[in-house]
């Protein structure tokens, strides 16, 4: 059996709420079938109060071996380094101290969600709580556990980043760890599992034809590409949201709104309104990943000139007003 413990720190709990939507199999059967023994999870377990604290203490003392520690939520170091903005209920002790001790005891440490990975939304704005991630403070390595941290099993913190995480990013990471099949080379430079982070949200986006012709949505509910005006970062965001899909057949772009690159460190401070594309001389500032700027500009102006009437009109409509032509219908 692989033992697992889940701690919630300064977050919204949404990664757990999302995880409960895991499918084929669902979360609870998946854990059983993967041989993962859930020592405690704040949203699911029977034990409360002193019973729960006793489990945490036994892990810290080494009397209950821990294979996987999952941490959800930012680590709140404030005020003044005390961590008192988040005291673990019933213990009088700041959660950051618990997490340091538990991480030292665990064979693997998993940051579930962008908050635990990099600080996330809680670190936005003035960052009153001095929030950070387990091994990152935004884009900078360090965070609560420090740049040099490696769990007992040898891996640094595994960052299952996302706001929220897709349930199966988490379940698949857990199954890989339980099966001994996730190594250092399976993590990208931000320590995200490559199985989902080596894809771009752009891959499989249903608005790709609009993107190709720079036929753009101008307001919410328009069908066109959201890169030019609506703040979409799908061409730069590392995740498989449009090939894996969410809650059945969803994704952000399919839901009608921009990808905000929520798997990336510091996504919470894009430097512009989330739903608006920053531009210089009419050209979007963020370029598609790996695309040279000159080529982007040249291709964009060429493709804009070549935009079919159908694509141009549909892009700024909330339904298909011009369907694709069918040739050889047999009708004159």
């Amino acid at each position: 059996m692989t033992s697992m413990l889940w701690i919630q720190s300064g977050g919204c709990g949404g990664c757990t709420m999302s995880l409960l939507n895991a499918e084929s199999p669902g979360l609870l059967p998946m854990l059983e079938e993967a041989g993962i023994d859930l020592l405690w999870h704040p949203s699911l377990s029977e034990e409360t109060g002193a019973e729960a604290t006793a489990i945490l203490e036994a892990v810290c003392a080494g009397t209950r071996p821990l294979d996987i520690l999952c941490v959800e939520g930012s680590l709140l170091r404030g005020p003044g380094g005390s961590g008192r903005f988040h005291v673990l209920a019933g213990t009088g002790r700041a959660t950051i101290h618990w997490v340091r001790d538990l991480a030292a005891a665990a064979r693997h440490v998993v940051a579930v969600g962008t908050c635990a990975a990099y600080g996330g939304i809680t670190a936005a704005g003035p960052n009153v709580t001095d929030a950070c991630g387990l091994q990152y403070d935004g884009r900078r390595r360090g965070g609560l556990l420090g740049e040099g941290f490696a769990a007992r099993g040898g891996l640094p913190v595994v960052n299952v980043a996302g706001c929220p995480t897709h349930p199966n990013w988490v379940t698949e990471t857990l199954m890989l760890l339980a099966g001994g099949a996730l190594g250092a080379t399976d993590l990208d430079p931000f320590q995200r599992p490559r199985f989902y982070a080596d894809h771009l949200v752009h891959h499989g986006c249903t608005r790709n034809e609009y993107y190709e012709y720079k036929a753009s949505a101008e307001k919410p509910s328009d069908l066109g590409c959201m890169m030019e005006h609506m703040g979409c970062l799908g061409t730069q965001a590392h995740a498989d949201c449009n090939t894996r899909l969410w809650n059945g057949e969803g994704s952000c772009t399919r839901g009608g709104y921009a990808c905000i690159n929520c798997t990336a460190p510091s996504f919470e401070e894009p430097g512009h309104p989330f739903q608006e594309t920053p531009k210089f001389a009419g050209i979007p500032l963020g370029l598609p990943t790996d695309m040279p700027k000159a080529w982007f500009v040249a291709l964009a102006s060429l493709s804009k000139a070549a935009t079919p009437e159908r694509v141009r009109r549909n892009a700024a409509a909330d339904r298909i007003v011009v369907p694709p032509t069918i040739r050889n219908t047999g009708k004159s």
């Binding site: 919630q8 919204c12 709990g13 949404g14 709420m17 999302s18 409960l20 895991a22 669902g26 609870l28 859930l38 405690w40 949203s43 699911l44 029977e46 409360t48 109060g49 002193a50 729960a52 604290t53 709140l76 005020p79 003044g80 008192r84 903005f85 988040h86 005291v87 673990l88 209920a89 019933g90 213990t91 939304i121 809680t122 704005g125 009153v128 709580t129 929030a131 929220p164 307001k219 919410p220 509910s221 899909l245 969410w246 809650n247 059945g248 057949e249 969803g250 952000c252 399919r254 839901g255 009608g256 709104y257 905000i260 929520c262 309104p273 989330f274 739903q275 608006e276 909330d318 339904r319």
Partner: protein, 488 residues
């Protein structure tokens, strides 16, 4: 002076199977709770994160306050922005938003009952009760058959959110002017099929009969009959254990209830009416009567009440007197309880009115109100789906004013949620949020008046169990607390 038993003080926490972090300090005397002090031990500062940003960013930031009430936070933000912009969504936008919000709220009710509330009755302390075998088999934490089936049913229900809202939680589909995701006739039949599956789950496993039969219940006598001769299902099992343990006699708070009104009807009203109910009498709700008290919060500004438009969120790092990060919202200077029970009371549903008239708000009536709402809301959703017009528009737009002051009110599963927005020079100058559990789990105010949970815990029998008392757990969970929203 008479001799009294010594008072014991103890701290209970972490409370599991609530959303977020909760600690309760209890003073015990003669085997009962003499006083309770509720502490929300996590502060993140979302109101500060929002200040200075482009107002539209509230649509991205506010939902991330909470992973369980995410859509309701989104809805409140969109409502505040719409009021500032002076726009109203077209009918399709309003209907789709109602559908998205209702889906989240029903999923929350389902998860609360099966995975958060009921597993406490499957604990070994109840092994001698006649219903224990069935409850353990169905509701044992992480294992029970009904619990697992409900998690699956929720996952399937949330496919409606994948289709209508892209994903859950943290969608951006809900906009001030409507929704960003148009739906066509195919989408509608798919959604209808998904909702029918959910109805079938409820009718087969939870109630054992048609939802309309549940919605037609009129009083405690009906529930007594259901308990003895009603259809087999988890509802009847709950009625049996509730009668055995007298859950109707447990957890009474102040008897003042607040609902912002849920699911706008496009004519200025709501599916579930807005209002305040005190002592069984309905009153209109006036947002101007809301203010927050910082006396026992670890926040600066203890010298005055804070109407939300003039509110502040400045943690007092040197504070040693406050016992919670939660502020104490008060309506006309007094606490109020919110949630499905308040919604159904304000809406005048006869069943909840009768239960509250007999025993006040209690563990029993709070849970019954939630289950009733499952039965009442699904048919309303079926109507909204039918009313969608694929040929009509989905989203209106309008420019943002450089300055404005506006409110967005909605109902999360667990009760009244409000966003108070001030825009100056095109940026957010103030953003104050009062969430359902801010109301329910507030600390004492300047007058020493307890928050609803603090009141509800007084007198709860704990026997020799002290902090391990399951009665305390039942009272706490009967509110379906969301602690991450509470302080935000």
């Amino acid at each position: 002076m008479t001799a009294t038993a010594p008072t014991r003080r103890l701290i209970v926490g972490p409370f599991n199977r609530v959303e977020g972090d909760l600690e309760v300090q209890l003073e015990l005397e003669d085997g009962r709770v003499r006083a309770a002090f509720v502490n929300a031990p996590l502060f993140r500062g979302f109101e500060r994160i929002l200040e200075g940003r482009d107002p539209r960013d509230a649509l991205t930031v506010a939902p991330r306050i909470c992973g369980i009430c995410s859509v309701s936070q989104s809805h409140a933000a969109a409502g505040a922005l719409a009021a500032a912009q002076g726009i109203e969504p077209p009918a399709n936008g309003r209907l789709a938003t109602n559908l998205i919000l209702a889906t989240e709220n029903l999923g929350d009710h389902l998860l609360h009952f099966h995975a958060f509330f009921m597993p406490d009755f499957a604990r070994d302390a109840y092994a001698a009760r006649p219903w224990f075998g069935a409850v353990r088999e169905r509701f044992k934490a992480t294992q029970g058959s009904s619990l697992r089936r409900a998690v699956e049913a929720r996952t399937a229900l949330y496919h409606m959110l994948g289709l209508m809202a892209g994903k859950w939680p943290h969608t951006l589909t809900i906009q001030p002017g409507g929704v960003a995701r148009p739906l066509d006739a195919r989408d509608r039949v798919r959604l209808q099929a998904q909702l029918r599956s959910f109805r079938r789950f409820l009718e087969t496993h939870l109630f054992g009969t048609a939802l309309e039969t549940v919605a037609a219940l009129t009083g405690a006598d009906d529930l007594d009959r259901w308990r003895t001769e009603g259809p087999a299902g988890d509802f009847r099992l709950f009625l049996a254990l509730a009668a055995d343990l007298d859950l109707a006699g447990l957890g009474r708070a102040h008897g003042r209830f607040l609902s912002h009104g849920a699911y706008p009807d496009g004519a200025g009203g709501h599916l579930y009416r807005r209002g305040v109910v005190v002592g069984g009498t309905p009153h209109p709700f006036d947002p101007a009567e809301v203010a927050e008290d910082h006396t026992n919060s670890r926040m600066t500004g203890r010298d005055r009440p804070h109407p939300p438009f003039a509110g502040s969120t400045i943690p007092d790092e040197a504070d040693t007197d406050g016992y919670s990060w939660c502020k104490a919202p008060r309506l006309s200077g007094l606490p109020a309880e919110t949630g499905a029970i308040a919604r159904q009371l304000a809406d005048g549903h006869p069943l909840v009115r009768d239960l509250v008239a007999r025993d006040g708000g209690s563990v029993f009536s709070r849970v019954v109100a939630r289950l009733l709402e499952l039965a009442r809301t699904v048919p309303a959703m079926e109507g909204w789906l039918q009313a969608l017009d694929p040929a009509a528009p989905w989203c209106a737009t309008a420019p943002l004013p450089a300055s404005a002051q506006s409110i967005g009110l909605t109902e999360a599963a667990r009760g009244a949620l409000g966003h108070w927005l001030r825009i100056e020079q095109g940026r957010i100058a103030g953003y104050q949020i009062i969430a359902p559990t801010t109301w329910n789990f507030s600390p004492r105010d300047a007058a020493g008046v307890q928050g609803p949970l603090e009141k509800a815990l007084e007198g709860v029998p704990v026997g020799d169990e002290g902090g391990a008392s399951l009665a305390v757990q039942h009272v706490v969970r009967s509110f379906d607390p969301c602690m991450v929203c509470t302080v935000h």
